[in-house]
Amino acid sequence: MRLSEYDNIVIAGMAAAVPSQKISVETYYEDFGQDTVQKFSEMAGVKEVVRAKDQQTASDLGYEAAVHLLETNDIDRKDIGILIFVSQKPDYRSPATAFVLQKRLDLNAGVLCMDINLACSGFVYGLQTAHALLNSSNKKYALLITADTSNKTLSREDRTMIMLFGDSGSATLLEKTDVQNHKSQFGLRTNGQKFKSIITPAGAFRNMHLKNITEEWSDGIRRSDYNTHMKGMDVFGFSITDVPLLMKDFLAHTNTSPEDYDVFALHQANLYILKQLSRKIKIPIDKIPISIDLYGNNSSNAIPLLLCQHFAGTEQPNLRTFICGFGAGLSWACGAINIDPKKILPILITDAYYQDGL
């Protein structure tokens, strides 16, 4: 496990944005059969997901969350020294979408901008990276934007994924402080041997010339090489073996136990996996908030979306929060952070998109 720790950086704000379009699982009764859909819904815990409009990109959702956050926090934007955009759905093949966001957010030239191509582990990886870069810079703030529109590469006939994934964006503002009592800790693992477990084979440069033809794959589901494919049982096995192992190792390395945390903000992969993690780590189920029922699996935004849904506007004191994300890569990570509910904004609903003029 790669471990890192910081004591002078605080989460100064967090916002999340979702599109207005809601798709209920009942929509799929005709395609997949009512019984199959109901069993899926009961197992995965999904009742409906949010889905971006055609023109709305991941960065549009992340941008709206960032504007919501920056307008609420009255800070000087020239003090932002780092902008990280975590997504698997960039605006263009090049340049990185962080540059588009820098322009739209009107950040000055003294900002380090970069994209990180990660999915469900992306918030924790992004947060760790933002901590490291901010800690070693002369700037006061880092802005982490996570956003994904997973649905845009899913086959409409893939019942293992199409009912599960939602689209959204988030923005998190980190602030360097003089007071060294804001301990943030992170533990990360990676297994590139399993890179094919969740993959979109075409659309980049390895398989440039594949035709976009939908046909039946060996699992009986019709999709094209431009659709994302997940080896469901492999990923499920990873989620209930490697992930709890990391969580246990992290608790041991940080000399903490579930009693030391107020909240376990876990990636909303599916409800059955959350129940398995609760059981294996012995986390009381009431410490694990749920958002998958209303929003689905939201890739790198799952954790901030969850925190915004459950804690925005609440009067609770600081929450010692255990975070854990896991998915494509394979990649998995956990962390211990402090969340001040007063800094968490309510979820923004938006269909706004950027007309770039191209």
């Binding site: 199959t36 069993k39 009961e42 293992t160 009986g220 469901g232």
Partner: protein
Amino acid sequence: MTTLEQLVKIFADTFQVSTEQITDGFSSETVDNWDSVTQLSLVTTVEDTFDIMLDTDDILDFKSFSKAKEIIAKYGINP
């Protein structure tokens, strides 16, 4: 309904087939729509019906009717 009949019905309902089709040869290798959705639906229905919680290895091994009978027997549910 016997335990065996209950298990057969769970398989038949999950895969949308008649109970006559549920034999020991019914497995992820022979059934077209056996995927993560059906396997996890199967496991959760079995857990709820028989009030058991399967271990990780058993969840992942739950890939045929004959294996299912073997696995639930470990939890004191004898088909």
